[in-house]
């Protein structure tokens, strides 16, 4: 019974959404609103599971001193700090107690999680750590209540305006993201150098098409001819093949969606 029920739900929701596509009526549109909002909300709960898995794996690496375990500390500090910034907003600018509170929170969380993981995960003196964690957490709440210069915000999004949250985003995430992406310029060059060899007919076609399109900026009379051929290559053979792949993918998706709804395809439910 436990295995069949989910597939019945898949069939139910799947057929509903297929039929809903053909029914423009108000109720069908409202139903689609419900379902799309549900998907968004479920996504959030799943994210909580993901964060727990990240914490669990990092702690496991630290406790068992697996290779590169020191860096898991850095990940956990980054994670907790960012979440802490996100939920607090600085009201009147005294940063001292703010950082003191953050340090206390980090240590107390560290001890609490160690305590919860317990002896199983190779944690020594789990009980004492757990209570120490509780004690520190009490101190943290005392600081949070006493110091009015910043405040916890679970109910409003002022946290997003916290200068530390914004600076962590713009000064750490943005440059890291942009530079990781920029590595592609190096990788595309080494890939071209290594792979674009006229080994056989197919590789030669790949090479010629790439060269024509890469040369589309060369100035001068030759450049004009090449840029015209490159536009032609992009608008004719490229369009034709793209369209064949798109039609193929379209039909492939419809077939797979149908297999899922009819319960022929069950791999995603864990049954191989």
């Amino acid at each position: 019974m436990r295995r069949q029920l989910p597939f019945f739900f898949v069939f139910l929701f799947g057929t509903f959404m297929v039929v809903q596509n053909f029914v423009p009526h108000e109720y069908s549109e409202r139903a689609k609103e419900f379902l799309s909002d549900w998907t968004i909300i479920i996504g959030i709960f799943a994210l909580a599971l993901g964060i727990w898995s990240l914490i669990h794996v990092s702690l496991d690496k630290i406790n068992k001193r697996k290779p590169n375990w020191e860096y898991s500390f850095v990940t956990l500090v980054g994670l907790v700090a960012m979440i802490f910034f996100g939920f607090t907003a600085n009201v009147s600018g005294s940063w001292l107690t703010y950082f003191a509170a953050l340090m206390v929170l980090l240590i107390s969380l560290w001890l609490l999680v160690q305590g919860i993981l317990g002896a199983g995960a190779g944690v020594t003196k789990a009980k004492e750590k757990f209570f120490a964690g509780i004690g520190l957490a009490a101190i943290f709440t005392f600081i949070a209540l006493y110091d009015k210069s910043w405040a916890f915000h679970f109910y409003t999004s002022e946290g997003l305006e916290n200068p530390l949250f914004k600076h962590f985003f713009s000064d750490i995430m943005v440059p890291l993201q942009a530079t990781m992406f920029a590595l592609l310029a190096f990788f595309i060059s080494s890939a071209s150098y290594r792979a674009f060899r006229a080994r056989n007919l197919l590789a030669t076609l790949l090479l010629i098409a790439a060269l024509i399109v890469m040369l589309r900026f060369t100035p001068g009379p030759w450049g004009d001819l090449i840029s015209k051929t490159s536009t032609w290559v992009m608008n004719v053979p490229n369009l034709a093949a793209q369209r064949a792949i798109v039609i193929g993918i379209g039909l492939g998706m419809v077939a797979t969606a149908l297999k899922v709804i009819l319960g022929i395809e069950r791999g995603y439910m864990g049954k191989g």
Partner: protein, 213 residues
């Protein structure tokens, strides 16, 4: 505060570039910071966007609350049963909802946009006439090539038919078209990858070192 931000960005940029030489502790540290900070950032952004703005404001504290949002929250809580191995099979229900609902939506959507509309735009008049009725040869040749490309491309993707004889010939022409499109889009994207690197160099030379005005 501004210069601290730029220096921090520059150091991180150089640290990531060092990965090109070889894996080193500085890169490992940046990787770890990046994972932690980004996981925290998206947790907060998605929390405030979905739970707070849509669920808390939309359902719990709204004047005429949208009760059906609670359905999503219940399914979400069901999902959390993964944490307890004994009852973790319950988590299959919200998954069934997500996969089933989206499969149903995608099935018709992709049928219309990918299959029907693309086929419709393939069915065109091969002979393209200029406004004075004279045949525009280049355009007509182009449309003919597109038709041949689409048909042979589709032939390549047949699974249950042996690629032999005339059908095999068609499929071979199809893979030629595919290789041309892969080469062309690879060449086309060299430019966008370069512009990423240019963006970083502009940051290093301009904002950080101030060599570019």
């Amino acid at each position: 505060m501004e210069t601290v931000g730029i220096w921090c960005g520059a150091i991180l940029t150089l640290a990531i570039f060092s990965f090109l030489y070889k894996d080193n502790p500085v890169y490992k540290a940046c990787e770890a910071i990046f994972i932690g900070v980004s996981a925290g950032y998206y947790a907060i952004v998605y929390f405030f966007d979905s739970i707070y703005k849509k669920f808390w404001l939309g359902a719990v504290t709204a004047d005429q609350p949208e009760e059906w949002l609670f359905g999503g929250a219940i399914l979400g809580v069901l999902f959390l049963t993964r944490l307890f191995p004994k009852i973790s099979w319950v988590a299959r229900w919200p998954l069934a909802f997500i996969v089933g609902a989206t499969a149903g939506l995608y099935m018709v959507n992709y049928f219309v946009t990918n299959a029907m509309n693309q086929v419709a735009s393939t069915i065109t008049d091969v002979i393209a006439r200029g406004d004075a009725g004279d045949i525009n040869w280049i355009q007509s040749f182009g449309t003919l090539v597109i038709l041949v490309g689409v048909i042979t491309g589709l032939m390549y993707f047949f699974f249950s038919k042996e690629h032999k004889g005339a059908f095999g010939g068609g499929a071979k022409v199809g893979i030629w078209f595919l290789m041309v499109t892969f080469g062309a889009s690879f060449g086309y994207t060299v430019m966008s990858r370069m512009s990423l690197l240019i963006g970083r160099m502009d940051f290093l030379l301009g904002d950080w070192l101030g060599l570019i005005n």
